[in-house]
Symmetry: D2
Subunit: 496 residues, 4 copies
């Protein structure tokens, strides 16, 4: 497994295809640093003695090569793997104070491990060996990947072919003997400029006549024809304050401008039913990842709330405790749902382990419904200071520094520089563009509460509960009682 310097070197060697702030920039552009530092952390933590105790969580044994690999590049073989992935996600998110970014790699890889197998069974294609050949290198080279799923979609109520411009969903525009040419754009493509590979998959269920949009492939982040228009947010604090990172977001509108993809990197091309399954499976794995990262985000908000209470000298107030308990419950109900999803998962025909649909979704939905409320709790306990405190330039200016130190003194047990550090960090966390990005990610990342609602209603057998009701009401039903589980899992069986 490589070090973060090797990772940074790789970025440095990439072709310039990132546009920010109106210009073409290199991967070393300052405003990308926050995102780069996050991916770097997933490499550093493997070699960090402080995390030696989590070795089995952070690494795994490849089912292909038997070699030890970063767990972010692993295909889950068991419930234990899913539980370990969930813990790894929570632990690594703690280190960067938010999204760990590399989850999109593991989630898309797991989804592809199933759908390439399934397509081959069903259509006699050879996607699975291609995929495994790429996966072997992906694991051996310790590459990082993101996933480009969300199409720009044009007018929402219309299907891909109904759009005024067919490119509003990424599609195959040409099939050649050596590969395919694709055109379109993916948005919300988080961390695309700071990873090596982009795994591109469909965004929605597809109808039989929508084969041009049923395409999945992997492509280097700097490939010819790929253009990334990137928006980034990072808290910017002086030396000695804030996160060592710093850590931040980078979201790409990724343009595929007649991109060529060689067949060896094409994992789906035209099989619409399998494409629909792929869209759902990535969402499923990603929602399971959210049962790790969202509790971590709540942990960070909870820690921030407890820190604000300490700084303000109100730790013992009844309402502070009440709100901390609320945060604990939000976090742990979501985490518990992830555990239940792993424990109730199943091994697919392809050999990959799949978490339970219903539990992944109830967990993710609960987190999404609560995210703004969590920021509300933090604001409540923090008081107004994070929104109005003097900015960093004034902390260090000779003309104002003494005033700020005199008047920001609070709980006498807390050094005033730590008071400033605490408020400044909470400002970055909760009262900044970065906060907005995290709030939106909390609502929409991996699927909004509405999407989870649809998934839950699709996976749950409400009729079973209605049958219970009818029996209790004395209404004849002729149905016998069953409760193996109310939730169901998608039928992934190959056609025989």
């Amino acid at each position: 497994m490589i070090t973060s310097s090797e990772y940074r070197d790789r970025l440095a060697r990439m072709r310039s295809n990132v546009y920010m702030d109106g210009k073409l920039v290199g991967r070393d552009y300052e405003r990308l640093e926050g995102a780069t530092n996050i991916i770097a952390k997933t490499y550093d933590i493997i070699h960090d003695p402080e995390f030696k105790q989590y070795e089995d969580v952070l690494t795994a044994t490849s089912h292909l090569t038997g070699r030890k690999i970063n767990r972010f590049n692993h295909v889950h073989q068991s419930a234990a793997d899913l539980l370990a992935k969930q813990r790894m996600t929570r632990i690594t998110c703690h280190q960067v104070g938010g999204c760990i970014a590399r989850c999109m790699g593991i989630d898309s890889v797991n989804a592809l491990s199933i759908t390439t197998f399934l397509a081959d069974q069903q259509y006699g294609t050879d996607y699975h060996p291609r995929f495994e050949a790429w996966l072997r290198k992906f694991q051996d080279e310790d590459w990082s990947a993101c996933c480009a799923q969300t199409d720009v979609k044009g007018n929402r109520p219309w299907r891909p072919a109904e759009q005024l411009d067919p490119d509003l969903y990424v599609r195959v525009v040409e099939k050649r003997s050596d590969g395919i040419v694709v055109r379109g754009a993916k948005v919300h493509n988080s961390y695309a400029p700071v990873v090596e590979w982009i795994n591109v998959i469909p965004t929605r269920r597809l109808m039989p006549d929508e084969g041009d949009w049923a395409v999945a492939f992997t492509i280097p982040s700097d490939a010819e024809g790929v253009k990334q228009i990137v928006s980034a947010a990072t808290a910017d604090l002086p030396e000695g304050y804030g996160m060592a990172g710093p850590f931040g977001s980078a979201d790409s509108m990724t343009i595929f401008d007649n991109c060529f993809v060689p067949w060896e990197n094409v994992f789906l091309c035209g099989e619409t039913d399998v494409g629909s399954m792929l869209a759902l499976l990535f969402a499923l794995y990603h929602r399971h990842s959210y049962t790790g990262c969202k509790p971590a985000m709540t942990d960070v908000i909870m820690g921030a709330t407890a820190l604000m209470a300490e700084v303000n000298g109100i730790e013992r107030e009844h309402h502070v405790k009440e709100k901390l308990a609320e945060l604990i419950c939000t976090s742990e109900l979501c985490y518990a749902a992830g555990i239940a999803a792993a424990v109730n998962g199943h091994k697919d025909f392809s050999g990959t382990f799949v978490p339970d649909v219903m539990y992944c979704n109830v967990g993710r939905r609960h987190a999404g419904l609560n995210i703004y409320h969590e920021y509300d709790i933090l604001a409540d306990i923090a008081g107004g200071m994070p929104s109005t405190m003097p900015r960093s330039g004034d902390w260090v200016s000779d003309e104002t520094r003494a005033y700020i130190e005199k008047y920001m003194a609070r709980n006498p047990k807390v050094d005033v520089q730590d008071v400033i550090r605490a408020f400044a960090w909470v400002q970055g966390l909760a009262c900044s563009e970065m906060a907005g990005v995290s709030q939106y990610a909390g609502v929409h990342g991996g699927g909004s509460p509405r999407m989870e609602q649809i998934a839950i209603l699709g996976a749950y057998d409400v009729e079973k509960t209605k049958n219970i009701a009818k029996r209790l009401a004395g209404i004849q039903t002729g149905r016998s009682y069953t409760f193996d589980r109310l939730g169901t899992t998608p039928d992934l069986q190959p056609p025989g």
Copy 2:
């Protein structure tokens, strides 16, 4: 394992010590029938061919005798046992449309299996062998038990010894060579008149000088000196309508009027620290049971909501689906917490398996916070009919029957008699004294949301999250990162 007729015969042989409606009544008093039917169901289901498939869930193998027993009398040996108990609870509650009652037996027995062992280790007593001797018979005879925990408490802010009357907490008033004499009263003593044994345990943490109140024992429900003043609620419908039961509640204010308890049935007498542990452990097991019964209650409400939607012909309405999804999430987050509590439990020194404190409590709290809202959802979809519909006498009266059948016709796919059955059952479920009892049980049974909050804050290491926050804020802490688990379990280790 016995049949329900044998159970009913046993009740019939009991001494009359139950007071209802101003008079001394027998166990066959009509208004006790709803409660008796519930306990009877826990016997019937074992022999019911429809439930053969759940045999491993509904029965267990005694760790004492190796014999097959009703799981309600089992001491958990593993996480699998806890998961099975959770499922059993949900399945059996489905059959009676609410509380299955016998859970208090299993929960108190499990708590006592630990504290008797612990007391013996710590104080050289012989509670554990006494307890196991009783347990052996309890399992072999397939007895049913309840648990009397909540003292009347007098003035809440005062401790037991501070009360104007020391009997406001059950206490030992005399120790004799052959046993002890106890006085006091327990309230909310659900199903006490319809079980054979009452397991009596302390209600709260006890201080070292409160030894008289540190008492635990088991006693026959009709023992000399025991007087039960009972309140019961049952829906009362004509033949052919409503639950075959009928099923209902029975809550006793159980008076111990200088009751004698032989030493063989005394499981704690004076060891206040172990008494405190016992109070907490029963609550813990009981909250884990709630992660089974509360989802069942939500299933029943969900089924009722879906049935009301069907009867009203509005199944496809967007807001109906939205509300069903809400109910699913309430139910399954609580159930997931119970799964996580089992998976993260541990085997105690006594050999008994203990669920995780934090997950039991976040699950129970979530259910308790939502119970009234669930009834709100049902009311919303049902419309006003359950509250204003003509009562049963008029359905069958010659003068009114035709009018009712004419004017209650709704969804033409539903027979009008089934419309009446559906509304009448929902009236009993959600718009009746029984509904009030279930709502209060939903809030307070096994501990109110407030008690869970206290337990959660006690079990959770908020400092760990504050440490995460400080590191991210650049504040020196000197503490290293740890995340084995944020939640902790009580230290049940014997003193060496």
Copy 3:
């Protein structure tokens, strides 16, 4: 204005047409007493010296006769009248601990005062003079009335004429020279058996071809052809405990079995557009009444919560205060909306004063969304006692009385008999069939939150806010800024 004895005498003289518990009963049937006592209170309070200070609130001056009348029979002439009606409603509800019942009379009378005028203007009919003739007697005789609006509706998605049975909405089956014959049934017809007149109006918007269902009239509660099948709920406590009333509900399924109505009592017959207006206007007035009665209901729950806190000795607990503050806000936001509705109301062409649609609806909706949560708060603070306490027979039985008095002692400042009274009353309020009826009325009475949502979206000009947004976003709109009010009122202008 008459006394309650005169009112009771009138009831006694009525024809028996009430069916309860499977039999035909007189107005003096015991289980109707709770409802009768409520209406009686609206007569008694006028003559009660304790309420002399509220004389201007409880009475009004008839705009027809200039005579002083009970305000429940008044047609509002000004905003001050609406404010007085709101206060009267709150004050009188306080006296009976819930619904004051006679509001349906005033609300239907006010709606009819407008629609009869409007129909005459538009269609040259003479409904308005007929109505005023009846109103004059209604005021002079101090009659009580209810309103029968909700049809049984059959299959919800179908319109009246589409039902398998056209009688599922009340309709005119014959027009004669001396009057009309109607058939059908109205449900949720609260207090119909204990008032003298039933005002019958349409339940929904009507299409032009639905003239048979566009019918409004007033009819004596015991008229030939009227049959009431009644469900009632009352708390039943021994002498010396509980409300002096007792007070309770009575909901009638009112059958119109080919009822003849003389033309003088017919206020609409075929004018579907006016019928639609009438349905909406009654709902509007009734929702304004809810801004008086719902705060009263919250006051009662708040008082009960404070009383429970006192009895339990926990008045000073932080969470008790927090919950009381929540209840205050629920109550007073609804009441404030009623004030705003009056202040922003307008005088219609008919001379009747109409409250603002939007404020009536936001107020009623807020109450309806919170009703279950209010009961939740009360349950939380009360503890389990109201659901499990011994029933009244046992309080007075020689065998159990002493035990109950010994063990129900709580806060030493509160006499134990008052502890029993407090818990017993809260049981009746919050943990009984009566509670269920009140909860359902809280959700559905006068329109469910969903109906208010529809009314609000219909009355509010969201486009104006979108226009504000567009201007701020720099999007050209060509529309000028206006903010007279975002809400609008229905256009009640006569056509010429």
Copy 4:
């Protein structure tokens, strides 16, 4: 009344005492422009023909001079004045998409008009004539003012004199014949750098021995010894996009470094009881202002939500309508509370009109509890685009502009440039540092929900509701029923 150019000229003439970004800056510093534009709008709108129809709302007649003045500088004489102020606040906030800033001037002036009168009555001082002399000029010159209330407070649980540094609350350090010298700092001092006067008042109730901290005065924003360390947030968009303003925040930590204040500008000096009253009265007036500005903020969020629905082509979706209805209710319940507060207000002995305490607080609290949820609704309907869309530089760059226009096309009825405008504005509104500032202001501005809770519990007579409960429960109380109002107003009477 002056124009905004005159206002800008005045700012330009001020002494430089503002520190931002580590340096001393002029009032024309670019990052102050957003704040300046807001105050400028309060001058422009008076002369804007589009707002001619609101002349009576936006201006008032001075009770001192009889001259027409900007209503922001008026002392309320009647309920009508309060209603007009509430409307003015909502209307002007609509124009700037948020806080209108000048409310702090009017609210502090009204509070001082009462407390200076009261102090003179009680202590024979001459604050009131001094205040009126200043007020006359304030109105004639059409000055703008802010209010500095919140002290830095040091360790929260300690009172002013207990702090390690007595300056942690602003205090009088010297009394001279010509005036006083003050030292300390005020935070959250919004818009201080862009107004001409700062009205300084106490932050909390004061004890009799805390006279040094019982100080109120007005002082020029650029006075000798005043130093403002300012934090500002503004959305920064290219020409042709976004608000014409732009509009933004400016929050000052205002240092009083041994500032001299001449007696003519001192309005309180040592009278602790009146100082406590002043702290409460400003909060009261300010919370009434929030019943105008918070609905405006909700209108803006509602408009943004409706705009996002239009852009995304989902206006007709059921859940969009549901969420708009929620926003309407949040907005209008708060506004209704402000109306009720005005209607139930009273004229104080000083002649100033005072809104009702309870209604101001329930309205403000409701808004504060909902603010984060409103942003949640907007995020839900907007989708992820506001958080990840390319930044403005890329919209206009030749290399990326065409891609962005191709791929951001959505609802074909909306021009793609308007799509960009809409998303960009929502980004600034809801997903930016400015959003964080607004969220914090929504929670804490004018008092957090917790402060309102305290005020409500202080103003409400819960005992009256308990008395209602006791009467209904049959408990003797000896108290008669009263319901003039449950809420009470502070006793502002001079001592006679």
